[in-house]
Amino acid sequence: MKNDDLTRSRWMVFIRCVLAAAGGFLVANLSVAMVGLLFTDTQALATYSAMLFSFTVWLLVVLLVFHLRSVRVAALSVCSASTAMLLIVQGLQIWRGV
């Protein structure tokens, strides 16, 4: 019984680590593209600035993932955030392409 709890909580910690590492990485990189594509005139400069800032984004995701009480909520919010950002980036690219 106690062992099961321990194994479970270890799994939960492991999932959080994966979320923080992979999710944070994805969100940080997507945030770069989002900012970059928003600025048409100075796209490179905006991308560069967002690159400089992206480590902070990653940091915030990590803090959030380890702060939220429920792993499910953490997973949901990271996944939905990255999906939403991916869609926005796609949308911006299409809009810019036109």
């Binding site: 959080r16 770069v32 560069y48 690159m51």
Partner: protein, 625 residues
Amino acid sequence: MKGSFRQSMSWLHTWVGLIAGWVLFFVFVTGTASYATQEITRWMQPERPMQGPTNLDIKAQFDAAYQQLLHDPRAQDAQSWTINFVSDARNSQQLSASWSMPAAEGERRGRTETIYLNHQTGAAEPLTEQPRETAGGRALLRMHYALHYIPSDTAILIVGVCTMLMLIALVTGVIAHKKILQDFFTYRPAKNLRSWLDAHNVVSIAALPFFLMITYSGLIFFLYTYMPLGVPFTYGFSEQDKQTYYQELMQQTGSQRILGLGGGGGPPRQAQGAGERPRMDGTTPTEQQSQRSSRPDQSAQVAGSERNSERANRSGQGRQRSGEHRGDGTATMRGADGLGIQAKRFVNLVPLLLQVEQQWGTGQVRSLTITPAVRGEPAKIQFSPAFSETIRRSRGAGNIEFNAFTGAEIKTLPNELAAPEVFGSSMLGLHEGLFAGTAVRWMYLISGFLGCAMIATGLVVWTVKRRPKLEKTGEYRVWHQSVERLNVATIAGLSFGLACYFWANRLIPADLAGRQQWEIHVMFISWALLAAFSLFRPVMLAWRDSLTITCIAFLLLPVLNALTTERYLLKTIPQGDWVLASIDLVFIALGLMFGWAALKVRSKGASNQRRAQSTQAMQSTAGGI
């Protein structure tokens, strides 16, 4: 996570710190030493002349050095002449004249040769022996981001992950610190865990701005390696897209270089003049740069700068790059007079020198560089200041340049840089601290040392906090013990390895082939030996013995130095060469510190033993009753 925000952050701090701690300790120790790269290299080449204050004014220095350049037959076809004055700049109390030859076929950069001049008399000082080849301070500099014995790409990723973890640990540490204001100045000695925690808190707060800066800027050095998808998501995934980005970026930032590719475009020109004497420490700044640039995106950078120079030439701004003399030297010389012949047509350079000195102040002219006329450009004389007015990595900022034929000043307009570029390059400049004079450099060294102390105390806190509980429940087993052993192996072991690095420098024969590599091997072998030794001993004894050994290794270094060289404290201090002397003095200080720590562990061990004995005695009397 369970509990409050603060509790979850505290949990994160604990584990992130533990995971990254050992690698970060290595990075911080070697990185701190890198603030004295040039100084350490000079210590490791005791054949080089001592430095010190001078009686000669700048005109006398110039005359002495310029005569050497004018009359040395080897210097006549050089692509640049450089005179380093005795100045207030870093590591710059040595008068010298040097010349760089055009790069020969297949060379990235031509040879540079240097004549040292006695800074009291101005006479040339023949080197009795060629300075020994040494891995020097540069090897430590490289190790702090590229480690050793593993491919540098992998190493940079490992260091990057640990740097990110460090950033997390710093921020969570501040959040988790319950009484950061109440306990701001508090250190309570001799209270075991409380004392360790206090020590960890105090050293962390002490240089917190430095730690945040150094961690964040460490990430920026390899921006495109650590955030590899940002640009592809915006511009597309092909090589062409990447080039488009670099091209646009250079236009929009107004910078000639792309930051974040690793070396960030190489060290600023400043590092070349007086400070980093080319050749003397085995490599030139360009080689240094190429070593630093063993990184994924190198090709992009090279392509970028080529395109850029084309653009600069087209728009008639080629001058901005005139401070750099790269491998195109063969073309430089073709069909033109050598520098020695051209020099006969120069105006009198002394008034120019005096004018610059008046503008900057006595002791503030670090060096001058003369380049021959080439491809429609006149011959130029360029003066570099001993001070820096900016923290940014800015090549040749503050230099004053004259046409050597007419004596007219050549003004170059500084580029207007976009704010993000200023921010980025300031961060990298702050990280490297090349702008720092003596006082600020010591502050950097102290801050770096506090960083090492922060990581070391943090690792110790982890074990001290858990051990009593585990011992009570009988769960004090392999896992916890190995953390304790790894702490000894890393903290004392690496320090010992570093001491042995300097021992190796003095003891390995000066003419042994590949001795640089052996210096480094000795460092890691001795580290491994001490680590192995500490793995098989009870923890307290391992601490005591390895700290004692490290203490002895550091304390004997100045003695060894006195026995094997002519650059020991009794020689360097009377000469006024405080740079060399301070390295020996730091060895002594480190030795004393490790000795003090060893004594602490010894008395701690003794009191533990007494306590154990008295409890045993009580138990036995209790049993008797």
